[in-house]
Symmetry: C2
Subunit: 414 residues, 2 copies
């Protein structure tokens, strides 16, 4: 894949714009190959092929009502004052094949969903009859075909049912089950290796001690990958070049995201390793936070080098890794956040030439930017309603501007 890109490798001093970096991340991307899953586990997956029905549903004429299968003409003229007697010659229950045939003057008791017996061409609702047992009376007429579901009414054989690329809804798996379409060919879920590194990191479940901190990026990234339909696989490493090299070069993943060791400092070996093992296509992006993000390829696996700072890590995941994971899984690369438009309570400042990811809180119908101090800490995103993106062409937005808020949580609670 690295041979197909036109984006030149960039050093940190030759930063890419957000759109250049996203283009590089998605360059030549296509959904992964299909795999077969049971129809009972196919909801939430993406169809890999068009589905054409090979059967009629229903495969038989069925009753849409509880009542009596009749010859419609036998009921013509029936009223409460002119009831027409009919002989009940049997009954039809769902799942059975009725033995009896309906002939002139006879009928078959039938329930909703049961097959219409031969000879009958309508179902008289129970409300339009009187009596019970072996003899009833029709008290209203029923036209031919009334309350009879025709063969193939839901799905006809050879009908194109659902198209390739469809994200399967609960009703879709119901429909696939009803036509006997099992297994279902769906796009394989991308395997996303999450590599976090640092001698300072304790695994989740630990308590922070002295200068050791507990890894917050791997559980956050695993949850993001899961949200986007990928399969997260966590690798936690000390600061060790050999271990990092092995984790980057080892086959078995479709995407690798690394967190930490992404900048240009002495400990920032990941971009160097990516460049050596494959190609480093982007390193350094004109955005805040997440400037040290990198994008590369090793053995066909897309690499997104995320900063170790958790806020930068979250933003860079959402800008670049999320679209890759969703695209490989056959989903839309679009952000999975609802947006709302509301006016700014205070101005937001930015810089021309830089894309900003500004966390905001919505209060009293106004959008309030989270104070810049402390903006690199995770509590700034857990406390925020969502974020506003300030495009690189703008210096920010003045107070009162209607801005688009991407809600972290549902509809921002509104």
């Amino acid at each position: 894949m690295s041979g197909t890109t036109d984006i030149r490798m960039k050093g940190f001093r030759d930063r890419s714009t957000v759109s250049e970096a996203l283009e590089a991340a998605l360059d030549g991307i296509a959904p992964l190959p299909a795999e077969s899953v049971s129809v009972t586990t196919a909801a939430g997956r993406v169809l890999a092929h068009d589905v054409v029905s090979t059967v009629n549903v229903p495969a038989f004429r069925r009753s849409m009502m509880d009542g009596y299968a009749v010859r419609a003409e036998d009921t013509y003229g029936a009223t409460d004052y002119n009831p027409i007697p009919l002989k009940v010659v049997g009954s039809s229950m769902p799942g059975t094949v009725p033995d009896e045939r309906v002939t002139h003057g006879s009928c078959v008791m039938i329930v909703t969903g049961a097959p219409i017996p031969e000879g009958a061409d309508a179902v008289l609702m129970v409300e339009n009859t009187s009596g019970s047992g072996t003899h009833i009376e029709a008290t209203a007429p029923v036209p031919v075909g009334r309350n009879v579901g025709r063969v193939g009414e839901d799905v006809a054989s050879d009908d194109a049912v659902l198209a390739s690329g469809r994200f399967l809804l609960p009703q879709d798996v119901g429909l696939l089950s009803s036509i006997g379409h099992d297994p279902v060919e769906v796009v394989r879920r991308p395997i996303v290796r999450i590599i976090v590194s640092g001698d300072e990191l304790l695994p989740p479940g630990s308590s922070p001690v002295d200068t050791k901190i507990v890894d917050s990026n791997s559980p956050m990234l695993a949850a993001l990958v899961d949200r986007d339909g990928g399969i997260p696989e966590i690798v936690r490493l000390p600061d060790n070049e050999g271990a990092m090299e092995e984790a980057l070069a080892r086959p078995g993943s479709d995407v690798i995201v690394t967190a930490g060791a992404a900048s240009v400092g002495s400990e920032d070996r990941v971009p160097v390793l990516v460049d050596r093992l494959g190609s480093l296509v982007v390193h350094g992006i004109t955005m805040r936070p997440s400037a040290p993000t990198g994008i590369g390829l090793i053995n066909g696996s897309r690499i997104i080098i995320l900063p170790g700072n958790p806020v930068s890590c979250l933003a860079a995941y959402d800008f670049f890794a999320g679209p890759v994971v969703r695209s490989l899984g056959g989903r839309s690369p679009k952000w999975p956040y609802l947006t709302i438009e509301l006016p700014l309570a205070r101005r937001i400042t930015s810089q021309i030439g830089r894309t900003d990811y500004a966390r905001v809180i919505i209060e009293d119908g106004l959008v309030d930017p989270v104070a810049i101090s402390g903006s690199s800490v995770l509590s700034s995103v857990t406390g925020a309603s969502g974020f506003v993106v300030i495009p690189s062409a703008l210096e920010g937005y003045p107070e009162g501007t209607e801005v688009t808020v991407h809600c972290y949580h549902g509809d921002c609670g509104l």
Copy 2:
């Protein structure tokens, strides 16, 4: 719980309104008790208690930059033309405890995230220095505190971090991990027993044969329950009263939804059984489809009797069962569908006194009702963009009315 309700039991001829039925379904409902889960699996769960941090994050002063830990006053007056020499007495790496102390005229090389050595009160960015090794020069001044992250900058001990009832986002589990909060107390997921019954039903994975149909409701309902945070448990039964009674009466579920056998016909024994085993609070609702829906209680388990017709089953699930499942799991009872407002391409007709669930297709920015004929078939919902609810007070909507479409799929693809 049945003792707390004011809603009288209603026979099928005394139908409830949609809002009465929803009130009955949610009567006295509260989130289930807490259970403990690992912080690494807590995303998407709902917090059962407020979380207060017992630690400072970070627990030490940390560097926010790559550079040199200095005494700020040593750098005052430094410029490119007046570089000030500093002796490098050591280095500080993340996760370590630096041995060296910074004294007048000395500094310690430091990387982002590493602890600030004693004696230092600022970090001079590497860009504002020249030289390397054991002797460098400051080429710009740095004020006290600059590039130093204070103790508790992200989270301070005793900070209220996340509130009870919070739906845990990826960044939330990152934060919980960083403060060593593990395990996490979350609302237990409701166990939802899905009972489908009928001699005509073949299990999913079968092909339809003769008058046997393949169960579409159980995979659809399982996917809906999963969407709503419940744990589905499928029970498929023949038309057998004893088996149905056992499945309704057996403990172990928080909610039971039944599909099929809900009407007043001869085979419709579920409402009768619910009334005998517990209480049938609602039976029959003034809506279309899904009129035969029932609501009851058996041994503290809420029962939602859904119609067997798949479209009615879907609508009744969304109107009554979904809010129950989500509320028990601590989520919002609100519909999990995005809504959009668009004008109607054609009128929709309804009846006063009846709530209608009208499937619609959005085309060219207009909302087109799915033709009524065939409206009971599953392909009418797999082919629809979403649905419009027509309140019982209206006879419908004329062409051109701006209506609210609930999108089955994301934002209706717009």
